[in-house]
Symmetry: none
Subunit: 190 residues, 4 copies
DNA sequence: CATGAATGAGTATTCATTCAT
DNA sequence: GATGAATGAATACTCATTCAT
């Protein structure tokens, strides 16, 4: 399978792909999903054709952006889980996910519109994070740092919601910290 | 005589307007703002021309939908404020707004916008709710039921965020209740 | 035939018709044929329905405007023909038509687009003027005031062209006069 | 090899642009500016998208058509000015402009516009012709071939008007010649 | 008769996607 | 592989005309 069929251009291709992902991330986050593919391509310094060679669909590009983000989150979460006490790890991870998801709610919605099927890669990546969160949540609950009645679904929903909350307080870190206080205190047993 | 289905009479204009608002509310909420005007019109049982006679712009339709929702919230909130103790009124109102905004991230978002140009009607309506919330929040803080360091912006952001959270737990009222517990406990002083 | 079937409202109807014609003349002349019927109706103080009762078609309204103008020209031309020497009458009539047609070239074109058929009333009215011009031209030629080789078609074409010329010199009566000098001198035998 | 029908190659973009301009010229001239863009595209054998890629706006297409025409006129006028005596050159140029504008009242009109905002290219081109005409007119006046009291505005207005006149005599070259005689004689001093 | 709400075909323009070079 | 010209379906909005009141 791993024959010698690779051509020397592969490096350029990879660079193009990466550049497209970077541009798309930036552009989708700051200006929404409505930005024309052509503009993304131009900003990345390639033709539209190249964009569509790498991502057969705009939606696929969207998905790739999210997957990359999710993978980054997952790897950071893994590190957190390894380095900290269960309870601390849980809260740190909560914060991490919220902060990394800022401005990304719109994507999720855009993807959701197109139907739940497909997006296998996405589901896979989020499954990883889900699993990590499940473990962390369990540890935190057993350590008595999180209400025992809370399940993973509530926590994930709270993740999304807190991310939205943070978007609304974009320029005000102090207010964002106060919100974290509220949510984290709320998560703890009475 | 006072049947439920008069033929298209003059006063039918009002009915068409209302129907358009209903359809638009439903459709914007469940499928996003991207739904074609033509489909909205068709679903409401009128021609596109009629839609544009009532709302000169798609944006105007969106605004009208939001205003109607905001006004409903405002009037319910006013009632709550009159009938309950400050603290109780605050939490009841919080819950009210969240529930009314369920599935309407875009609406709750409007609450926090208050800075877009044009959309005078929108700003006006959200200003009313803002003011109501400010009063309730103040009362609740003075009653010692809400952390004194929390300001209106954080509360509004939390409103939007909690609404998002609830969307994610759509079919599960028990989980939603648990989230309310988390947020409400978090809002209380230590 | 002329029974007693007339109702008292006839006077209002006539007034509406006249008002519509006035408004349409003004509006078509100053802002072009593209002005919406609804605006014409509103300006005339009636509903669109009334406009379409009087003129079954926008084109019919256009035609009516032109016919009225043509009839006015014809009657003034008749008077000129009666009161002046053949040559003077010809030139006076030429000037009259040019001045009365100012800004009306666009109409003609709009009507022409819709096909040469129909517009019987229009053809009838212009036929009258044509005939008058033919007589005047003949008189002027016999009086030696106009080149003998010029036919009615050339004169009519020159009428239209000079009208266009005048449109271009709208605010400058002195320049317009100089153009009349050019054309009138040119019409005379070497 | 150098056939007349290469397959859609890269350089075909230029061909498409030219074809669009040709079709637009023809269609705007004969049927007015109201012709749908889609029809222009179809007639040119391309999709609407292609039309809008080349001309971002219908107005831009109109402008391009006019500019092309104006430039053709300007270059021919320059040649005339170089080859003939001032007086002859003036009359030849007058005829040239009239004939090139035949059926294009809207084009000749552009000559006199020179005051609309935007349309920089248009204004530029018509400015060139204006300047050429100014020179020729001056020469002809000094040569005693044109009435000294006539200014550029009158001449330009007469250009447009004579063009209209010619339109009305479309199939009759003899009559058109007679009109030129009238106008040219009229332009000469007494 | 007058009114103006309703209609819907028509129009300019955008944008994801394809494909010849 | 990369490019960008071409495509055409889709969309918001307009306006002449009809018709219920």
């Amino acid at each position: 399978m791993s024959g010698t069929r690779e051509r020397p251009l592969r490096a350029d291709a990879a660079r193009n792909r990466a550049r497209l992902l970077d541009v798309a991330t930036e552009v989708f986050t700051t200006r929404g999903v409505g930005v024309p593919t052509e503009e993304i391509a131009r900003t990345a310094g390639v033709g539209v054709g190249t964009l569509f060679r790498h991502f057969p669909t705009k939606e696929a590009l969207l998905e790739a952006v999210m997957v990359r983000r999710l993978e980054a989150i997952a790897s950071q979460a893994a590190q957190l889980a390894a380095e900290a006490e269960p309870a601390d790890a849980f809260f740190a991870c909560f914060r991490l996910v919220v902060e990394q998801s800022a401005g990304k709610n719109e994507f999720a919605r855009a993807l959701a519109v197109a139907g739940v099927d497909a997006h296998a890669a996405l589901r896979e990546s989020s499954e990883v994070i889900r699993a990590q969160l499940a473990v962390l949540l369990d540890g935190a609950r057993q350590a008595g740092a999180v209400r025992p009645e809370l399940g993973l679904p509530e926590v994930i929903a709270l993740l999304a919601g807190t991310s939205t909350t943070m978007e609304h307080l974009d320029g005000d870190p102090a207010a964002q910290q106060r919100v974290f206080d509220v949510v984290f205190d709320g998560l703890r047993p009475r």
